[in-house]
Symmetry: C2
Subunit: 199 residues, 2 copies
Amino acid sequence: MTIPVSATWGCDSMARTLADRQDVIPVLAEVFRDHGFEGASLSAITARTGLGKGSLYNFFPGGKAEMAKVVLAHIDSWFRTHVFEPLDRTEGGLTAVEAMFQATDAYFRSGQRVCVVGVFALGDARDLFTEQVHGYFAAWVQALAGALVRAGRDPDRARADAEEVVAGIQGALVLSRALNDTGVFTRTLARLRRIASGD
Amino acid sequence: MTIPVSATWGCDSMARTLADRQDVIPVLAEVFRDHGFEGASLSAITARTGLGKGSLYNFFPGGKAEMAKVVLAHIDSWFRTHVFEPLDRTEGGLTAVEAMFQATDAYFRSGQRVCVVGVFALGDARDLFTEQVHGYFAAWVQALAGALVRAGRDPDRARADAEEVVAGIQGALVLSRALNDTGVFTRTLARLRRIASGD
DNA sequence: ACGGAGCTGTACCAATTGGTCAACGACGTA
DNA sequence: TACGTCGTTGACCAATTGGTACAGCTCCGT
């Protein structure tokens, strides 16, 4: 009945548990992305990850809530290193801003992939993960606004522009998914680029 | 135990069921708004509406799916009469556009209320109500783009602007809810107004 | 070779899910 | 006053939910 682990795995062992927990996180992210927090049932999670409940609760003793927290932390970390910190490091130019748009377009697959944090923000999950949901968007707006200020924009205007860009990205995700048209996302991103570069 | 219907209602009878079914729809909309489609459990619905499951299934034999369809139709109808049609009727000016922004701000309570269609669009429910989700946003973009064209804007530009405004509204809902700050919604709406009026 | 540590699948749990249905009782008519 | 109609209720259903417990397994250090 049961297949020996080594038969399907066959590598050295120490890395096993650590590697697996790490490897599972992106899969969990996809499940939460597709179904939201409430909709991500344990059966869906076990099916997509290929892990039994035992393993899942071994990795994440806190159950679904901990899985979601880890996923949010993983996303936050990705955006911090690939988007927020490059923006923070930028001096005068707008190349980091353009890099942000490219990273965003790639990450969300031109609107075919939805934002987990955005999905959480719209539902009940917001109140379970207030901190992380708030932190993600606040960090994004702040990083972008800072970069715009350093590019010479008026601080109030920079903050307003940053809010509009971040909101615009989220809205483009909603709209392109609703209309099932990646063109909407691409076009909206193009217009947001213009806003970011100061019209 | 049971209170006679006439004691709480006291009107003529023929209208009763019809009136009730109509009255329930906004309550259903609130439940779907708060919890999404999957999250709107029948127990939550019975609690908020005060109706037993029997009455619910008497009004909506199709169950949750029919309730959601009716809610979507109700929302669509509201937007058609209060937003889309005024936009369609407008001739040259932008007063209907400004009216749209005011109606939108009031409807979404400056971002404290979320868009049911947007919530559905991001989740599994999109594929259950493809038609209605698509129709709502397509109609909005089209009505707004038409008004902008009639106000003298280049058709391609008008469509891009309309997409950006509608997406921006949805994004502002996400962002203001995530940051728990209605100011974000108000500010973003102000900037979208500028886009709509041609910078 | 042995033993312990820890990963894994799975049976099981109470609670809840969406949905059904038969009995109840309020109503208008006669 | 009696009756038939019909909306309503809440118990009940199988299925599924998130979560627990545990026995069995593989693996590693000794």
